[in-house]
């Protein structure tokens, strides 16, 4: 697998790169890089409404991304955005703003990424909806507290898999309970889609947001899946080219399909790159890879724990292959820099989840996150890297 990823051949500080920052972004296989290269070298053109050959080729290549997303996730409506963050903001503006009123409740959790907190805080400031945060209990969402929080809820926004802990939330139960009170459900699936197959229609959520760059696709593109009935409740968000039906100075009518929410020249090369990633993905057995790397994460976690580190990640079956930890004395930044000096890339800091950090009682963690191209070599390198850090700093 590794030989398909050119970046994994490089050296960092004279050592082979051991890339364990996959929850932040994943690397791209050669076929994805080539697809974008090829697009710019052969088919680049603006898309839609044009009759020349390049424009037709570009439109087809770009729209293939949407087709692949629809079939991969079994979704009727796929809005292309610039990423998870824009997808969630789109829901806040296009669905929540026109459909909610002061006093309506939005239920979130304490383990949300900032991208699934701040848009709702901005909305709350503007239209006085109430935000309720489900607390954590033993590294998991407290479902009893959730049930209570649902009273008066119109929308539930939950991360499917935590980017800090790897905790996979019980989204099926969460959705079922929300549906009992007729609340809409938005899944932040940024960390879930890289690791599992998801049937959106069957799952029953109203919205699902994710980014291409976390699943071997390019930067600058993501998607929002929407249930058709809920799609019909959405108002226009951004205005511009491509999303209109007819513009006059007196007023404008809009497209009725996904284009309504995709104003301006689309992310064309990005769509082409993502389509290549999705085709590549289709040939991969995610479930067995995920099992394999979750095991890598567990080996890592056990070792760190034995060495006296505090492990925050539960690493239950189905959880993300993420090990968040702290050393009792060593500053995460020192830890990570000494790993980096050995070619090992991990992330430190608040991971865009400051409320969760507060709950964990730390200012930041060290996070090693695994992906499908990681293997035992990486774990061994990481472990011996850690040993060396401890020799110097303990």
């Amino acid at each position: 697998m590794k030989d398909q990823f050119p970046i994994l051949q490089r050296k960092v500080n004279g050592k082979p790169l051991i890339y364990l920052d996959n929850a932040a972004t994943t690397q791209k296989p050669q076929c994805v890089i080539d697809a974008m290269n090829d697009y710019y070298c052969n088919n680049n053109s603006n898309v839609h409404r044009a009759v020349h050959t390049l424009a037709g080729e570009a439109t087809e290549a770009y729209e293939e991304c949407r087709r692949l997303l629809k079939s991969r996730y079994n979704a009727d409506r796929v809005i292309i955005t610039s990423g998870t963050t824009e997808s969630i903001n789109l829901v806040a503006h296009a669905w929540a703003r026109p459909n909610l009123v002061a006093g309506d409740v939005i239920v979130l959790s304490e383990m949300e990424h900032h991208s699934d907190i701040v848009p709702w805080q901005i909305l709350a400031k503007s239209i006085a909806v109430e935000l309720r945060f489900i607390p954590l209990k033993d590294g998991k969402l407290d479902l009893e507290a959730y049930k209570i929080a649902l009273d008066g809820a119109k929308l539930v926004c939950i991360t499917q898999t935590s980017n800090v802990l790897g905790t996979r939330n019980p989204v099926r139960s969460i959705i079922e309970l929300a549906k009992e009170v007729d609340a809409k459900v938005l899944l932040d699936s940024a960390q879930a889609v890289p690791h599992e197959e998801i049937d959106f229609k069957e799952l029953g959520a109203d919205f699902m947001a994710f980014s291409a760059h976390k699943m071997c696709g390019p930067t600058g593109i993501g998607a929002l899946l929407v249930k058709p009935e809920t799609f019909n409740e959405m108002d226009v968000f951004m205005g511009g080219g491509d999303m209109i039906e007819k513009v006059t100075l007196a007023g404008t009518t809009f497209q009725t399909n996904e284009h309504k929410f995709e104003a301006g020249t689309p992310k064309i090369a990005e769509g082409v790159g993502w389509a290549a990633a999705l085709k590549w993905f289709a040939k991969i057995d995610l479930a067995s890879h995920h099992k394999r790397i979750l095991n890598l994460a567990r080996i890592t976690s056990d070792y760190l724990s034995k060495k006296g580190m505090k492990i925050h990640s539960p690493l239950h079956d189905g959880d993300g292959a993420i090990v968040s930890f702290n050393h009792p004395n060593i500053h995460p930044e020192d830890f990570a820099r000494l790993l980096d000096a050995q070619g090992i890339a991990v992330r430190t800091g608040h991971h865009c989840a400051q409320p969760l950090m507060e709950r964990l009682g730390v200012s930041g963690t060290i996070r090693a996150s695994f992906y499908i191209y990681n293997d035992e070599t990486d774990v061994r390198a990481f472990i011996s890297g850690v040993d060396r850090v401890l020799e110097v700093l303990e």
């Binding site: 037709g56 439109t59 087809e60």
Partner: protein, 136 residues
């Protein structure tokens, strides 16, 4: 897929030509093959959506045979309508539904049948079949 001899002949005629420009020249000649839908019968119902040009196709079933009337403001689109007329006019509804649109690719007129690249052909073809389905 088997086509009517008339259509088969046109397919062969087109596929013998390499040059795209010459193909389009011939396609324009087929604009005369439509049974022209008079302007006053251009309605929202028979409008083909998703084309840059204005195109109308009216489908009727007369004596269990398909009767097409068509018109477009762009010649090449009307040329495609002419070929559709040759392919479908007079067929039984079921034979018309059995038809697949790949003959246009076979002709080398279109590289692909995706709506965004088939110059309205796919939309027109689909409109005809949908209308027939609604009528039978």
């Amino acid at each position: 897929m088997s086509w009517s001899p008339a259509l088969q002949e046109i397919i062969e005629e087109f596929s013998e030509i390499d040059d795209q420009f010459e193909k389009l020249e011939i396609l324009i000649d087929f604009a005369d093959h439509v049974n022209e839908l008079p302007l006053e019968q251009w309605t929202d119902e028979n409008l083909v959506k998703g084309c840059q040009s204005i195109a109308h196709i009216q489908v009727e079933i007369i004596d269990d045979c398909i009767d097409l009337k068509a018109a477009a403001d762009a010649k090449l689109v009307q040329g495609l309508q002419g070929i559709l007329t040759i392919a479908i006019q007079g067929l039984s509804p079921q034979s018309a539904l059995d038809l697949t649109p790949d003959f246009a690719v076979e002709m080398g007129l279109l590289n692909t049948l995706t709506p965004s690249r088939s110059n309205g052909f796919r939309n027109m073809f689909d409109l005809i079949q949908t209308t027939i389905k609604e009528m039978i």
